[in-house]
Structure formats: C-alpha cells, structure tokens
Point group: C2
C-alpha cells in the first residue's frame, strides 16, 4: 500500500513527541489507518539545533512554505503555534488539497473561518482536537457524539497553569505571587505568564468550545475575559471557609430562550462538591450539560508533549482514513448562527465581602441597595464586630449588569469602608 | 433534499425518547446532517399499547422483519435489547445495505463479529455508542481519539444499579439487601436484579471496551465476572476505615509485555482519592490510562431514556452523514489479535481480614504462608486482642493465582478461625 506522506511544521515539545510516536507506533498506525505513514519533512527554524528525537537531517528544512505545497505531501501537522506564519502555511496547505491537523488554539479562535474556507476549497480535512484541553477527547465528543443533543452549558478548567496556581493557593495558603513562582520553577508557567494568568489562553479555548457547542462562529475577541492576578490568599481562604474553591473557568452558556449565548473566562467560586472542584494540579476538565445527555465530564492532561501528541495522532489517523476513503470529516457547523450576548446579560451569582462599620442600620442600607438593583440576596453573614465588621453576602441569580451596578453602588455607600472581595459563584444551580 | 428514512425497532423507555427527540429537533438534525430524517416505521410487540410519545398509528408495525428489509429504509435503530430477535433483525438490515445504530451491549458482547461481518457485506455502518455507559461519549473517543495511542488500562464504573447500591451502603451503612430494596423502589434496579448485581451487564460492557481498547475480538464469555451480592456492611465499613471505597469495576488491563490482556468485572477497593471514588449514585465513569495521553476520565449518566437516546442520536447523525457522503465510519479493528489471559495471570493486590487467636507466633505463621506463595505484604494491622483479634493485611502486587492460593492456604491454617473478608485493591499503583 502506498504510504501517506506527512509534513510536520515545528519540532518543539509537541513536534518531537509526534515524530517519536509516528516512529515507535508505525506498525499500529498503519494497521489502524490501512496504509503506512511516512514523514516527508519537518520545518524548523534552525537546522543545527540539538533535538530530543532522531530525525534524518535530509528531512529537516527551514522552508516551511515549500514543504506545505510539495506535491507528494498528503497531510500537514502544524505545531508551531501563534498567528503567523501558521495561518499562511495552513491556508496554503489546505488550499492545495492537503488535510491539516493543528493544535493552534490562538489561530482557530482568531480566524478559524479562513481555515475552514480553505479546507472546503481544497476538499481536505481540518482537525484540531489538541487545541483544547490537550489529551482529553473533547472536541470530537462535542462535534460528533453530542450532534443529536442540545448543549446548555459548558464549564471548563482548560488552562493547567492557572489551575496549578489556584490549587497551590488553596492547599497551601500561598499568595498568587508565590504560587506563580513555584509554577514557573516547575515549568508549569512560562517566564512571561501573561497568556495564562490573564486568561488569554483560556479565552481562545472558550471561543472554540462555544463555536462547536452552539453551531455558530465565535472569535476570542467576543469572549469576556478576566484573569487570576487579583486573587488574594484571603479570597481563597474565605471561599474555603464557605465550602467553595476558586477556579479559573471557561464558561459557555445558552440563554434561557436559546437565541443567544454567553462566552466568558473568569475566576469563580464553585462548591467543593462539584465534580470540577476535585480537579487538582495542572489537570484540565470540562463539564458539559446537555438537554438529553445530562451532566457529562471529561478529565485529563491539558498540556505536555506526549499528551498533546496523543491528540494530534488521533486526528492524524482520522484524516488519513478519510483520505484513503476519499471523504472528509465534519465540516464547520455554523448553521445556528446564534448571537453572543454581552457580559452584562449573562446570568450569574456573586459572593461579596464588605468591610463595614458595625452600627445599627448598616445591613438595612446595604440590603436596600441590592433591592434597588433588583438583586436578591441568598445568604448574608456578619463576621467580627466593632470596627472590623465584615458582611459576607451571596446573591441569587441576576444579570451581570445588575450585579456590577450593585457593586458600584456599594463602593459609593458611606457606610461601606471597602469592598474587600467580589467573586462570581458558579456550578451550584 | 431527499430525506433519510429511519426504522426504529422497539418503543420502550429509549425508543420513545428517540422518537420525541427526532421530532423536537428535526430542524437541528437536518442542518447537522445535511438532509432531513424521516421516521419510516416503528416495530413494536403490541400495536394497541399506550405510549409516552405520539406516533402516527400508520407507522407502527409488529412485523419487524419486513420493516428492516424495506427498500426505502436507510437506517435502522435497534433498542429492543437481548440476543434474538435483535441479532437476526440487525444482520438482515446490515446485509441489506442499511446502516444500524444499536444500544445492544449483550448482543455486541456475544456476537459482535457477525454484526460487523454483515456491515462489511452490506457496506453500511454499525454504531453502538449507547451500548456502554449510556450518554457518556466513550466508544468514539476510544475508537477514534485514542487511535494514535496505546491504552494500558481501563477502569470503569459501567453499571449504575450496582454503583447506586454500593454508594448507599457506603454513605448510610445499609446492608446489601436493604440497599438493593431501595434501588428497586426507586426504579434503579429491576425486580430480578441478577443481570446487574451478578455483574453480567458490566461484563458485556467490559468485553466491548476491551475489544476497542486492544484492537482484538472479545466476548462476554471471556470476561472474569464476580458480582456484589456477597459484600457486607462490614466490608464496606472496614474499607471506609482504611480510606477506601468499594466499587464494582470493569477492568481491562494490558500485560506488561503487551502481548495479552485481562478483562474482568469484580468489586474492588479503590482509594478515596481516586477520581472514580467520587462517582456517586447511579452515575457511570470510565478511567482510561494511555501511554501518551496519560490518565483520562469520562463521567456521566449511564442509563435512562433521554441520556441513552442522546447517544443513539449522536450515532444517527454520524451514520446519516456517512450515507450522504457515500462512506463508512470506522470498521471493526481486530488487527492486534491479542490473547485474553486467564484471571490467574492478572496482577492485582488484595486486602484480607483474618479472625485469629491472639497468641505468639500467629503473625509469623501467617507471614510464612504469604511468603510461600511469593506474595509480599505491604501492610499488616492487628485489631482487637484476646479471642477477638483480627489481622488486616494488604498485599503488594501479585498474580491472582498466587493470591487465591494464599487465601486457600489461610483457610486451612489451624490458627486462622475465619477469613472474614477478601477484596482486591485497585487504582493505587
């Protein structure tokens, strides 16, 4: 049987694992596909660099453009990351009739439409399981297994770095800065951690998830995004006290009328009894609520060379089989074309801690302000007394706009010395 | 666009939900497939019976054989269950070129080979996501997402009835009989609970999982099976005491040399820190360990009309798309053709509680017996003293044959009054 030729773009942490596995599992891959795979070339930035895997020097090239348009190449794997040159290379490959497997969440969330368009033109496949939650089979279940269901909500821990940091803060009482430093020492966080701790990475993944869940086009720019840099050890401790844990969540939620949906990334308190609460260290997990299927959860490693390579190879087998069968996998599905509603329309709940003077009438004035904004209070607890009194309030569900306006109002109340912390509450309704 | 015609075999709990969803979501399904679906007929046992869903009386028939061979039918959904007439009907449908979606674990585990053979003959699809763990997307991830990886082990809670019973025993201290009775009252267990509590249902699912995980043919008869009827409140309490919980597990595990694998269903103690330990009530979850992907877990509802129908509809969309594209989904994959090794060769660990006389030399004689069978002891704890002394021993990993021989020997030792409980320990290596 004639081999299928594979071009690899990028030979970093993931690329080297892809090469190793293609080599070590050549027999299994050939049996599962129905034809052998052959590595046709590897595009790298520098030829001479030492690599953790053996690659014949004749396979290495710095000319990625030439590689992706070579006539004999059937499939292109892109693990360079970033917008350019990845976009141009993928579009060139797809337009030229190749199938593409990519792990590039940033590109898919910025301009997935162009990639799909190129795939349709060239009649090839665009697969990207590795782009969200690494090794966890998640996109295929969303795209295919749940194709006969309606997704109501997705709650995901999709960034391992921030989960590691928040987990450390929760278990050891560390500050954000100390936990970040430890994550950097252990290689879980990069020297410049912005993409992770400010939620950019999670926002790209949220956009991809929302697009698949709601059969609509979503870009990262439409995702409401808040990071975890402002979270203090006190926030974490007080959440713990109340039986909650703070996680950075990517949330996609359909509106009650089903006509729009919200997409957001922000830290939130979730009950310790929620399945996502037990997701420790750098693990990822995605909780899906569908109309008929009910609650589902997918758990596993969200990053790392071998886990990401596992997802890439799963896609590689799928697109290779499709090529042999002369068919294509699922295309972009945007028929529902639902609108992304603004963050203000999102319905959520809030936990807020207020430093107040302990004198008669304080609670009445605070409660009045909540009522004015139509925000109903679920629980209120006063801690301490005298000069150090703190009111801890958890609201019922309300729009984020009403909740924000309430917080704004609280900051202006003379009897409120400070709004010590505000955190959304998710996963207990 | 010409509609794809669907014949439904069975109109019970799952069938009625399939009809409801096909009707309610007709627009979405048509958009996702690229053509509308049309219900061509529903085979039932009795025509006059009252049903929870509206079906045009002209669609109902008692002649299932005629329905599955009708020229205008494209896809057959089988939710009758059991071996016959399900097998004959599915084989007839597939041989006649239809695609089939089934939830029939018993049939797949007894004679999946005949079904696949008929699918190849007729050039149609055989999909069965709903057969294992209901709504949880599990088979598609195993068959496709992990197609580029090697599965080392699968540990699954795949029977909701027994998980409900064991969970009740764990949380309330109830006896097996009382917990079973409650499960029956709530509709989680059938009047004759044999298939669930004796592990037959889980064994069929284990056979399907092992076949997919190891690319080999496995039947239910090859699965080592033990049920949960012998588990006492004392077993559960003593597991709890040691930080463990008892679950009925379906376990597929590759041997260290990769040349064979074991498939078994039995109750086992797992550490409370294991992700499967938190799976409560009638939920299902499957924990997969793969070489590159690492640890993955899939969690959700394992049974029920709507959840099972969600899985059936996901498959329905897939086979419908394949028919429109003139292609087939993944075929049976048995190229690896690994042997199922006997239970005796399975490597596991054991927790054993012995009633002994508390006199000098007892521990030495017990330890000697373990050593004789080459079973090494990890921890030993003596509880009580005088006439009521109990030795609680947890072994290191050993073959099940060596462990069984040790237990046999213990029963024959004069200083051992009784072997109070024996339970395998899983999930902590």
């Amino acid at each position: 049987m004639k081999p299928l030729k594979v071009a690899l773009l990028g030979c970093g942490v993931v690329g080297t694992q892809v090469i190793r596995l293609m080599h070590e599992q050549a027999g299994d891959l050939a049996a599962r596909i129905g034809a052998p795979l052959e590595l046709a070339g590897v595009a790298v930035r520098r030829l001479g660099r030492k690599r953790d895997v053996e690659v014949g020097p004749e396979l290495l090239t710095t000319d990625a453009e030439a590689l992706v348009t070579r006539d004999d190449v059937d499939i292109v794997i892109e693990v360079i990351g970033g917008i350019e040159p990845a976009r141009s290379l993928i579009v060139a490959a797809l337009s030229g009739g190749k199938s593409v497997v990519t792990a590039n969440k940033a590109l898919l969330a910025e301009d997935g439409a162009s990639l799909y368009e190129a795939a349709r033109q060239g009649n090839g496949d665009l697969y990207f399981e590795a782009s969200v939650a690494g090794a966890i089979p998640l996109l295929r279940p969303l795209r295919e297994s749940l194709a006969g269901d309606h997704v109501k909500r997705v709650l995901g821990i999709v960034n391992g770095t921030t989960n590691y940091i928040l987990d450390k803060m929760d278990t050891t009482g560390a500050s954000f800065t100390d936990a970040l430093e430890e994550a950097q020492t252990l290689g879980y966080a990069e020297a410049d951690p912005t993409a992770d701790v400010e939620g950019f990475d999670a926002a790209a993944k949220a956009a991809i998830l929302a697009g698949l869940a709601y059969h609509s086009r979503v870009t990262a720019a439409e995702v409401h995004r808040e990071g975890i840099t402002e979270i203090t050890a006190t926030d974490v401790a007080s959440a713990k006290d109340m039986g909650y844990v703070i996680k950075l969540l990517a949330i996609c939620a359909r509106s009650d009328d089903g006509r729009s949906f919200g997409v957001r990334v922000h830290p939130a308190m979730i009950p310790r009894s929620h399945p996502l609460a037990g997701v420790r260290e750098a693990y990822n997990a995605v909780f899906v609520e569908a109309e008929s299927a009910g609650q589902l959860m997918f758990y596993g490693k969200g990053a790392g060379g071998a886990p990401t390579a596992s997802a890439v190879l799963g896609d590689l087998v799928a697109v290779a089989r499709n090529r042999l069968a002369g068919t294509r996998g699922p295309d972009e599905s945007t028929y529902a074309d639902l609108a992304v509603h603004p963050m203000g329309e999102t319905v959520t709940r809030c936990h807020v801690a207020l430093d107040v003077a302990d004198k008669p009438g304080v609670l009445a004035r605070v409660a009045e302000l909540f009522a004015k904004h139509d925000v109903s209070i679920q629980t209120v607890r006063q801690e301490g007394h005298g000069d150090d009194a703190q009111l801890v309030i958890v609201t019922h569900r309300a729009t984020d706009a009403a909740l924000s306006a309430t917080m704004e109002g609280l900051r202006e109340l003379d009897i409120v010395r400070a709004v010590a912390s505000v955190m959304r509450v998710e996963g207990d309704d």
